[in-house]
């Protein structure tokens, strides 16, 4: 068995170090390259008819244009966005204080944790039939399920954030004369912020995942509803337009949160 020695190893070590600028641009180039390759692959597979009923990228683009001009895409997107925003906001606004209380007060934690741990194991989607029975088929059950999904993702993160606050930081504040209230506001909240933001990002993903399924029940518009309807009519291009829209919107919202995270938690030491 031959031992393979990488021949360029020494040469690479001696080569001048890449400038920071170039190495930062490189992933972007690769990202774009991967996207273009994927599109080409899709076009080839569709053109050759390797997958039955697969629309070509061009057909999907044309359909997207049509849906843009007749306004259905905007209506659907707005309807889905509204549900995501309302449900997500509801979930986060409830989750952060509940998580804080759970982390700060042992009693609150003992009272709430069993429920959180129990409901966490149930996928929010599994609750859709129940919410339909309880809350009907209007907007309320959809927003409730999305809210629950983001709440579950976010509550554990903010609770964990409070628990994980460095004891020495709390002691440092205490010996400088800080009361419990001050320690909570000036030490625990900022120290837990990175955790909460991670929870918010996970919650956002969960919200998006849930909205599509929630719209399968008795919706009149929305990206999920559009896909459902299109599938009964075999409109593959419409399905693709909705899917891509969901993906792009989810990505955009995640990037926005990431940006907020960078601004708010730039003080963190990264190892």
């Amino acid at each position: 068995m031959a031992v393979i020695v990488p021949p360029e190893k020494t040469a690479v070590a001696q080569a001048p170090r890449r400038t920071a600028r170039r190495s930062r641009r490189r992933p972007l180039v690769l990202n774009v390259l991967a996207l273009v390759t994927g599109l080409l692959l899709w076009a080839v597979v569709a053109a050759l008819g390797l997958v039955e009923n697969l629309p070509t990228p061009l057909a999907v683009a044309r359909k997207a244009g049509g849906m843009l001009t007749d306004g259905t895409l905007a209506t659907d997107t707005l309807a889905s966005l509204r549900r995501v925003f309302l449900g997500y906001a509801l979930g986060v606004v409830l989750a952060v204080p509940v998580g804080f209380l759970m982390g700060w007060y042992v009693t609150v934690r003992a009272l709430i944790e069993p429920y959180v741990q129990f409901f966490r194991t149930i996928p929010p989607l599994a609750l859709i039939p129940l919410t339909v029975v309880l809350l009907g088929i209007g907007e309320v059950p959809k927003i409730a399920v999305i809210g629950l999904a983001s709440f579950m993702a976010c509550v554990v993160a903010s609770f964990q954030g409070v628990i994980d606050v460095d004891r020495t930081l709390i002691n440092a504040a205490r010996v400088l004369g800080a009361s419990d209230r001050i320690i909570f506001a000036k030490v625990v909240v900022p120290a837990a912020t990175p955790f909460i933001l991670v929870g918010m990002r996970i919650g956002l993903g969960a919200s998006w995942a849930t909205v599509v399924a929630a719209e399968l029940i008795g919706a009149q518009e929305g990206l999920g509803y559009r896909m459902q309807k299109a599938s009964t009519w075999f409109e593959m291009d419409t399905i693709f337009v909705s899917l891509i829209t969901i993906g792009v919107l989810g990505l955009l919202m995640d990037r926005l949160l990431l940006l907020a995270e960078r601004r708010l938690t730039g003080w963190q030491e990264r190892r």
Binding site: W267, Q268, E269
Partner: protein, 265 residues
């Protein structure tokens, strides 16, 4: 000032014991520790790990309560933390989301010091430790030594009469440690405080202190107290002198060649 405990004692440990509940038997971290520290005295505590030297400091800081005995500061029993005692931790414990200046002003804000005076006192404390150029930097951009200087400035800013330091230079490299020792002594001689300094470094213990308390482990207790009859300011000459070496050897022997401790349960 006189009190029931004797003369001029700033900090006084009186028959202090601390046990932690453990599975089965309780763990005795400290047992019957009595120690008096005079006003403006610089005392170092050195001993093997597990001798309870950090617990001693935590009790003076008011972060932990003794199981038996009393800890007095200025003749009054310690009931909790207070700004009259500044604490410096080994892990720096800077608030990473605040700049150097904001960290230093943290205690002043809590004491409701008006903004103008607050800035002035923070500037002074920052200058005292030589961090002027980094006043607006975040802790993540500072080296370990600079972080600890910032922590010292934060403690100094609230003007405590007592400084409690828990292995403050333990995580630093040897060169930085020597620099910070000299800086600490310089600061201390300019503005005298009572210092209780915990360390595991024998050289550091002797170089800084007028008295070295050597502790023994299992249970934690005072083994010996060794006077350091070397003049301040301490200089490199003193560090390299025969007298220093002699005291250092004495401390070393009593730390590393203690009577065998009682067998652990």
């Amino acid at each position: 000032m006189t009190n029931g405990t004797g003369m001029n004692n700033k900090i006084s440990f009186q028959g202090v014991a601390k046990t932690f509940p453990m599975k089965g038997t309780d763990f005795t971290a400290l047992d019957g520790v009595s120690l008096d520290i005079a006003d403006q005295e610089f005392v170092t505590v050195v001993g093997p790990s597990g001798c309870g030297k950090s617990t001693l400091m935590s009790m003076a800081a008011g972060l932990e309560a003794p199981t038996a005995g009393r800890v007095l500061v200025d003749g009054r029993p310690v009931t909790g933390p207070g700004p009259d005692r500044g604490v410096i931790f080994q892990q720096y414990a800077l608030f990473p989301w605040l700049t150097v200046r904001q960290n230093v002003e943290f205690g002043l804000k809590l004491a409701s010091v008006p903004a103008e005076e607050r800035h002035r006192r923070a500037d002074r404390a920052i200058a005292l430790v030589g961090l002027d150029e980094f006043a607006d930097a975040l802790p993540k951009t500072l080296s370990g030594g600079m972080k600890q200087r910032c922590a010292i400035a934060r403690a100094y800013a609230v003007d405590p009469q007592v400084l409690l330091m828990d292995e403050p230079f333990g995580a630093l490299d040897a060169l930085t440690r020597v620099q910070l020792q000299d800086q600490l002594l310089a600061t201390w001689s300019r503005e005298k405080r009572t210092v209780l300094f915990i360390t595991h470094d024998v050289d550091e213990a002797v170089y800084l202190a007028s008295r070295v308390v050597v502790m023994a482990a299992r249970p934690g207790r005072v083994h010996r107290i060794i006077d350091v009859d070397l003049p301040y300011p301490r200089t490199e000459d003193i560090r390299l002198s025969a007298e220093f070496r002699q005291i250092r050897n004495e401390v070393w022997t009593s730390v590393y060649h203690q009577q065998p401790a009682a067998p652990a349960a």
